[in-house]
Symmetry: D4
Subunit: 253 residues, 8 copies
């Protein structure tokens, strides 16, 4: 239980806003205190190499701000994904040092007292269409916040294959590739056939009708006839970045 919580609680009792009985129950059950709704995993950095990251949906701005504050005490970077602008405004009200990446919908808090994360190698991030940008940026910003270098290559969908082929150098020099595509998601197979680096495919929910909210792109990528392609969940740019970072860490070992 945080000091702030205890302080607030006792003050409320002192001012008669909370009865002694209710106060006792609150002390026992810790309701509303962060530990009541979230069990922070402070061992994660040692275990998996990166700090815990907050997934925004289904949490209140207050909960997110509390968790970020707590995480940033011990980690050089604390971040939350899927944060809508309105939610960020509320978070910022409580955590003025929070940064926001609007296209990527990521909110981050840096702890300047700790050494920033840094990983060698470079992640190439390739996206098929303009509408895939939020997911591609979620991948790019997540990777950068975790200390990775990135190269972006946007809007090179397979309906105009020359756009991709004229940028072969970029994709051939990356150590890991993240390919972000909605609709039919064919870009992952084409990229997978051109490079020796591992490819992380991110289907997006961009499309309509028989795209079934990303199912079409997901199935395409899972059935890729190219080898060396691993797939993450629909729209999961963050997950792709984490997998890419872990791959770069293999090289570091």
């Amino acid at each position: 239980m945080s000091d702030e919580f205890l302080h607030q609680l006792l003050q409320s009792i002192a001012q008669g806003q909370v009865s002694v009985e209710v106060g006792l129950e609150k002390l026992r059950t810790g309701a509303r205190e962060p530990l009541a709704f979230a069990r922070l995993d402070h061992q994660r950095p040692e275990r998996t190499g990166f700090p815990e990251v907050v997934w925004g949906p289904g949490k209140t701005a207050q909960q997110i701000a509390l968790i970020l504050a707590r995480l940033s005490e011990r980690n050089p970077i604390a971040m939350a994904t899927r944060i809508e602008p309105a939610v960020f405004s509320q978070i910022q009200g409580r955590l003025p040092e929070a940064e926001y990446f609007p296209v990527a919908r990521i909110c981050a808090v840096r702890n300047p007292a700790l050494e920033p994360l840094l990983l060698g190698g470079c992640i190439g991030i390739v996206s098929a269409g303009t509408a895939d940008l939020p997911v591609a940026e979620e991948a790019a910003v997540s990777a950068e916040l975790c200390g990775c270098q990135t190269k972006r290559l946007w809007d090179v969908g397979v309906s105009g294959i020359h756009r991709l082929l004229s940028n072969r150098e970029l994709i051939e020099t990356a150590d890991v590739l993240i390919v972000v595509a909605g609709m039919e998601g064919a870009l992952a197979s084409v990229v997978g056939g051109l490079v020796a680096a591992p490819v992380i495919a991110v289907p997006t929910s961009v499309g309509y009708g028989a795209s079934f909210n990303g199912l079409a792109a997901l199935l395409t990528m899972l059935n890729s006839c190219a080898t060396g392609v691993g797939v993450v969940n629909i729209d999961n740019g963050f997950g792709a970045a984490m997998l890419a970072a872990q791959i770069l860490r293999v090289a570091k070992r």
Copy 2:
């Protein structure tokens, strides 16, 4: 009309079970005769440009042979699709002039007394992998039997995109393209982006796991980001050929 049918009919008339009027009508309309299980559509050539074609599954070899014989009386070519070798052997026992295309699984009967079908233009048929051959050949043979010229380009799946790009001339000179692909089916989008001709995409059931018997390739093709792509049913090489032929007929008009 089979002998057995005529014999039974006349006996029924002789025994008064069937009146002369009904008997006449039965002779005219052949009720319970082949027409009992199939209602041939002899007007189809005038209406749609091509004779009726027999879809084999769910029909006995005897039924198929009877329908082919009847159709070939009035059409330069009569054909049946999805004919397994064992079924063809039985058909051939009744229709010695029947031809068989084993990879395409097509059985055909030509009527030399009638002028063969002939259409100008050329259909390019492109397939992604070796396992897609039966469907691709079904398309090619169907088209050829209907009087079209074809060019085949096999095994140019997108995991090695240079195999397709080094054959650009073939696909750029075709008037219509049929693209046959299983697994992730991405080939249709890539071809669609390279050519000005209409593209008919045929998903195949080749694959496993999350290909869900061709569903993945089907969704890929329906969501193609390239324009000018029409899709037919999974494994429907024949249907693709018919659509291609009808497109060539537009030019002829």
Copy 3:
């Protein structure tokens, strides 16, 4: 921001084509410069016969206006699909010459300095119900903007088959047919059985319950027992028009 972009921008300012204020904004919002989020495919007209078309969803009005402006510099017609009225108002604020087709939800910009597109032949567009109109109009307007002639036949669903049969002349004289239908989508099969022209079937998401947002109509059309039917994505009126136009171009060659 690429050097090329900066170079061009400063040159434009130097030559008075871009004001200092606009230049400042461009520098600040670099990410909003078309080249940053979209890689225009100016070779597409030579390659595929028609200019690139903007798919509206997931793009801002500003992005759409910028791309349309850029495309219309080199093409007689630039168009964007799936544009809601409110988005069009914003586009119009930046591109006063933009036209809007409200039922079809299409926004177009014509370049009067270039020769308009023109294709011979005629596309018949047939729709099943009143609620299918937006998709049917998307097909019709797209085709007309690309230089095709069209004939519309609305509200002839199969539950009153005489409405279709009494308009047989229209469908029999079209060179290509687009059939737009939601709910059970049976119209495509019936039309396909009546004509020799190629049929492009467009399932719509019109319906409820077991229509599963157009899945029922899509499956119906893919399983059509009529030959010569190609299917495009649910609600993809634009794609049907492009395929029809490419079919008419075959005849022109």
Copy 4:
């Protein structure tokens, strides 16, 4: 417990093949006696108008023969559906009076001592293709065995709509219609729009690829834009016949 069962059991005990203990347990639990695996519903005729019918799959020939024998004691007709020829041979070995309808795959036993079922009115049964015959015949034979008159109209699928329209009299004079169709199943909507009689739609599993074993036809029929169409399970010809018979019974009341 049947006499036969008791007789066999006691004989087995007498001959030492079954111990007294096991015999006791068998008497207590009745294992292998029909009532052990099936609870006959002899009240059903009074309650629902028709006797119980045996669904063959998952039952042994012995079980089916025993149930049919038991049912035919009290009902003019006892029937079992989905009986393969090999299973019928085994049934016939035990029940020589059993009849078999091979296309319909129905096995029936008539009790000549009881008055046959008889219902006024006429059921029109319409099927789309030759491969739909087994289901259509299951409907026709079931209806006839339950005392209904039927008219069959086979192979009138919508790809050649004139075949249906030239038989309008048949479908307009039926009191109830059963429409059997696989692939896209569009026939039900067209028939439903032509008649005032109730239409029972039976999707069949005929088709391939995106027919998904009858799902396409099922969805088509559920989304029919024609009114007055009720749908039964895929391939459920028997169920359609029972519903049609119950509709004719309404008229009789």
Copy 5:
């Protein structure tokens, strides 16, 4: 083309708001006249026994009002389904004689100059839960407007089977039954096993999670182990009423 339309058009031309050329085109194509978006099926009453009914979604209030007005000229009752209260208000502004049934979401216009529809027999309508009421009422009101007598039995879901069993008389005396149920939809099977009358099962989208918007109830009803059950689309109370009415008409013939 309505007089009102012609009058308005000519006036616009006279006042210079519409040019002669545009006026001519409008006369030729009838754009914006009701017949432009809807092709009324005035033969339907003779053909199918009931007038055409307007399905509201995807149509504007103006379109609905125009079609209702037109239909009510020739039919004793004209009705539109799936009309939200706000849409009805707009319809009423144009058609003051329109009635509204808020739970059933039906809007109707009666023509007092014509003899009302009337059918003998009685439809029993049974629903499982309170949340199924809108669909059940859509069935009941539709049936009543078409001249049928109805008996309602609400909230008798199978989790408390005694509620249904204590109302057996109602369901046993109805000539046709409509069973409306969401969630697991088991009520149709239970009712089907209790009565000799035909049962029309209406799955509803009531439920959550694995009800998948009515799919669970739909599958339940299609797989009913009771005979004599026909199924309509999810939430299709109107369709069930029309099928019930057509069944009652069989008796009338």
Copy 6:
């Protein structure tokens, strides 16, 4: 190969329990020694109350026999599920003391040196149709082998609800109920509404067409409007028995 394995093997040879030839084979095929392909969980009885049970599919008869032999050394009962008769014959060749329950497809080995499992209370097992028997028997036999008392009530599907209602005493006196049903699976809701005991619902794959191999029954049971119903996997009679036994153990504590 682990040291422990080698040690045990050699000791067995030394003690004559294993012949030299068998020993040689074991050394060569090490992969066939249980520890190579299966990691037995001997702590499971203490942890979860019941010994590990072998799921047959995907294992060879030899593997199953080896695991059963090993498990029965330490447990009063060792059992394997989903054992086809031919597989049992092979098992019996190696493990003569193995018993077989053919309808339940269970193979069991009892260790007479250990005290049998015994649990108070009674499990009522109710099934809907004759074809559901294998799953229902799998549940019953599994429960009995684990020391539970059972009462069977077969063939009481909801299409004849009186069959269930006339056996209310049986279901009302059971401490836990297992309800096994295929097709529409409605029996679970009806039973759930009649009793205060927990109900474990087992959907079966019995059915055809829109049963989609048990999906329909599964969804029905998950959406049950009755409370107190937990669902296990399709055809998982064994799992239902284990859950029932664990429920009875709660009472024992």
Copy 7:
């Protein structure tokens, strides 16, 4: 309106229990009287051990308040689930004694004149993530209102398995466990393998993309390789609580 209803209403007015104004409104809105839209199941407590509970969606606040009032007359606790805050405000306006549990979205009315429900034993409720809290709280509050003791263990998802393992005592001492998890739902299998108590698994709709609104978690739980796991509908915390309570009642018998 039934006679019984009118009789009761007038009598209530005569006795001053209902004011004239309220009486008038009741006559006008008859359809809103509980008996008109809901058939309360007052026998349920005797039959199934717990009173009927109101499922909020699809009911108006007025309906819910009326049913709760009626239920609380005869039961120590009446409750409604899935009540949004705005709906609760309206309920409270009519039922000032109603309580609200905002996270659990439950509204309850206690009848102090009746003895509260009380059950021995303890339910352990375990949830995977913070976003699963509403469902987990629905389970916890429902159980507590029905007289059960609960222990909560929040945010112990399997991605940090030590969080669960360090709380083994809690889960090992519970008599029944409820496991609430979204996304991949793996927690149920892990818990199921650790304990001897029955496990009730509740998949939640928490997740995105390929979670398909809880389908992924649902399938995971149904396929659990641990034994003793029963599954309820997605997000059905209430149902899990009821099943747990019925399991505890087994022990009580």
Copy 8:
């Protein structure tokens, strides 16, 4: 037959590399010459680091043998996956040097004249159950043939989590992990939460009922709450090995 093919063939005969008999057969069966049905991708090793691998299904033994022979001429290892024993026997008849891995169903041909592939680092392969072995072995053998070191950990499914936890050292020391699991596939999330290395998750089709042939495990893995998990197609052990090898190559660069 291409000129190039004929030229090469005759030259080979002239040089004695091909006998006259074989030459004749090649001329007759031209269609069976590799170039006719397969377009080998000899540039692949340079482009992607590993030679092309043959996917067996849908190819004849003769085709596979021909492709392997051709590939092994230029690569140290040529391999084919999904080879059933009977197919291998036929391959071996033509390619006596072919090796077979029966559990993994892999056929390989080594070219001793070329330097074997070799990669540093170690791949840990973890499988959940005995029935998952074929897929796990496919991954292990593929990786080993490509020069990787592997560690196997079999049968550590999450229902007995201690089996995994007592082998933590193995999984913590691997550079990349492949996790193979069917049924609910939860193992990937648990492993993902324990390690810093990238995890490649392979769902298998092991299971029944609601596993839907591996769909359940696939969805589980895509929704993993652990970070750093990439998923490949159902049963795609080979693809997982290739991705793992490409990850190890990143470290090598």
